[in-house]
């Protein structure tokens, strides 16, 4: 599905995760190119965070991970912790949902950021402080030098998320994975943090994986979108195309449940039913029981993610190339 000629920065193949014998992730394939912004969207529990926690070895020990995660061709799964420590923060950084609990409550913010600087940039003493202050200013923390000595509880959620971003930038990573970075924040702050992520990406040229259940958040920031459902990827393609005319009925349902940004107000249609629990998936397509376009065959085969249009894939036996795209092609 990835059409860039250059070898991908990160390539995930057949990634599966089991928790206590229950499969949570059913073989994810995903490649991230240098500098690319990829949005991963889906309901909570669909495996979008687990994918990246597994890739970086951040899941608890009871999780069993298999498949392959390669960073510029180098395998990351099953390598010794010391190798992962070289990757985490330096090549791939990650920020999390609730910044207040993701920061250590008893350590000054400057020191928490400074740790990453000491680890990845070999800085020491005054250089750490100067660089930490520069990062704080870069991410737009007012009164940066005083904030270095503050503790997380003294800052707002949005400011703490900025600190998390500063910490992630400390190692000059090639990829930043932002796991629901705005979910715990107020709506106005959300927009600021998204703007900041876009700005930072433009300035550093790093790739960004933005994980969110919020389509609006993804639409604003991503070049490419992956839609996940019940531990599988069901659609992946260019952001504009997927938001315009999604191929997979689940992605269509997600958009139908979203209020339109412009145009007349319309009825919002929720997707009927609920996500099946991981331990009790239907035999065929996981989405079949909720799907408006279901046919008998859907109950028998798990549809593979396959390209319907070059660079645009969906895991649905009923999905074909979009009507609009064909017409556009004809009309042009």
């Amino acid at each position: 599905m990835h059409r860039n000629q250059e070898a991908p920065l990160v390539e995930i193949r057949g990634l599966t995760v089991d928790f206590d014998g229950v499969r949570a992730l059913h073989g994810i394939d995903l490649a991230i190119a240098r500098g690319e912004a990829v949005g991963i969207v889906g309901e909570s529990g669909c495996g979008k965070s687990v994918t990246w926690l597994a890739a970086l070895g951040l899941l608890p020990a009871r999780a069993r991970v298999s498949g392959s995660v390669r960073l510029q061709g180098r395998e990351l799964l099953g390598v010794p912790p010391a190798v992962l420590d070289e990757v985490r923060g330096r090549r791939i950084a990650m920020i999390f949902q609730d910044p207040a609990s993701a920061l250590n409550p008893v350590i000054r913010l400057g020191r928490q950021v400074g740790e990453a600087l000491a680890l990845h940039r070999g800085l020491g003493g005054a250089a750490i402080r100067a660089e930490a202050r520069r990062l704080f200013e870069l991410v737009g923390i007012p009164d940066a030098s005083r904030r270095l000595d503050a503790y997380p509880h003294e800052l707002s959620g949005g400011q703490n998320q900025r600190v998390m971003i500063a910490m992630a930038l400390a190692g000059n990573p090639d990829l930043l994975v932002a796991d629901e970075p705005t979910t715990a924040l107020d709506a106005t702050i959300q927009a600021q943090i998204l703007d900041l992520l876009t700005l930072v990406r433009r300035e550093t040229g790093m790739a960004l994986v933005l994980i969110s259940h919020d389509l609006g958040v993804i639409a604003e920031t991503s070049d490419r979108v992956c839609v996940m459902y019940a531990g599988r990827m069901v659609e992946a393609g260019p952001a504009e195309a997927v938001f315009d005319e999604p191929l997979h009925p689940y992605a269509q349902g997600l958009l139908a449940a979203l209020p339109p940004l412009d145009g007349p107000r319309r009825r919002l249609d929720p997707i009927p039913g609920t996500v099946p629990p991981p331990g009790n998936l239907p035999p065929g397509c996981s989405f079949a029981p909720r799907c408006p376009r279901r046919v008998p065959a859907c109950d028998h085969v798990v549809p593979a993610l396959s390209e319907k249009v070059p660079g645009w894939a969906a895991a649905c036996i009923r999905a074909h190339g979009p009507a609009m795209a064909d017409r556009r092609a004809v009309g042009a």
Binding site: L53, L56, G57, L58, P81, A82, D85, E86, V87, R88, G89, R90, A93, M94, F96, D98, A100, S101, A102, L103, N104, P105, V106, I107, E115, A116, L119, H120, Y151, H153, E154, M164, M167, A168, A170, G171
Partner: protein, 310 residues
């Protein structure tokens, strides 16, 4: 900070005053000291004279006020048994008690905290299970049973150590072990659960995600947080340095404060009992006060006053 100190000091004083009052009430309710000390068949005039001498004839509230006023001035009364100042009797027992409880405290800290940390870091391993079984055993077996078992093994069977009395450091080994093992078990359990709680926090994942090696993440991110709840139980142990050995001192006939308390209670030697209770209250309250200060040092959320804390 000053307000915090004043508030805590005020509360500490109030606690001590309540303990003093409680001691007075309970001891007066539990029997006539004159009859106990003089024995029942003493001549009535002698009993009356004893009562007059000790002020036991006065209305109870007068006795209370006098007693309270005396304590406020540091006057803790005299033993009704041998007429010596109660505080002197108690003070000369303190070194013997500390000779047991201080080494025991070191055992508790030196054994309990590392065992708890190790168990938490290797959760569900064989060592973790062993630590937990030992901790539950140490926690549930009463100290007099543990003491007697140790005597049975090391004194009676093996003949390595004396079973009681105070004659050289060898005599202190068994009572110290009895105190230390039980406390270490409690502390191991507490430390383990505090560590497990902290290890599951999102900020530990953040520490790993930024590339901090696990060992360093544990040392610099987990331990300072796990120390906060652990300080509570350590504070309690420090607070019971004086009075935490009542049972063990009795089992091993160790002449410490605890033994003196048992003897004084059975003799209704009011001044001595009150003096010990006051001492216990003061140590406990002081330890709690220090714990509160430690919280402030360990947890910046508490330091910044009422607006802190999540």
């Amino acid at each position: 900070m000053l307000r915090f100190l004043l508030l805590r000091s005020g509360r500490a004083l109030l606690t001590v005053a309540l303990v003093v009052t409680f001691a007075f009430v309970v001891l007066r309710l539990s029997g006539d000291p004159a009859l106990l000390i003089m024995s029942v068949d003493a001549p009535p005039e002698a009993i009356a004279a004893f009562r007059r001498a000790w002020g036991l004839d006065d209305p109870i509230w007068q006795q209370y006020l006098r007693y309270f006023g005396a304590i406020a001035q540091g006057e803790l009364g005299q033993s009704m048994r041998d007429g010596r100042p109660a505080i002197e009797l108690v003070a000369e027992r303190i070194p013997a008690t500390l000779a047991l409880t201080l080494p025991a405290l070191l055992i508790k800290l030196g054994l309990g905290i590392p065992a708890g940390i190790y168990a938490a870091l290797h959760r569900d391993s064989a060592v973790d299970r062993l630590v937990m079984v030992a901790a539950v055993a140490g926690f549930t077996v009463p100290s007099f049973v543990l003491g007697l078992v140790l005597v049975l093994v090391f004194s009676v069977q093996l003949g390595w150590l004396p079973s009681g009395g105070q004659d050289g450091w060898l005599h202190a080994v068994l009572p110290t072990m009895t105190l230390g093992i039980g406390g270490a078990a409690v502390l191991a359990r507490f430390t383990r659960s505090a560590m497990l709680e902290v290890l599951g926090q999102p900020y530990m994942r953040t520490a790993s995600a930024k590339g901090l090696p696990w060992r360093r993440a544990v040392l610099s991110h987990a331990l300072p947080n796990a120390a906060i709840p652990t300080v509570t139980i350590v504070g309690f142990m420090v607070g019971s340095l004086i009075a935490g050995a009542v049972v063990v001192e009795s089992v091993f006939s160790w002449p410490g404060v605890g033994r003196l308390l048992v003897v004084a209670v059975s003799n209704r030697d009011l001044a001595v009992v009150q003096c010990i209770l006051l001492l216990v209250a003061v140590t406990m309250v002081t330890a709690n006060f220090v714990v509160d200060l430690m919280y402030g040092l360990l947890d910046p959320r508490l330091r910044s006053g009422a607006k802190g804390g999540h």
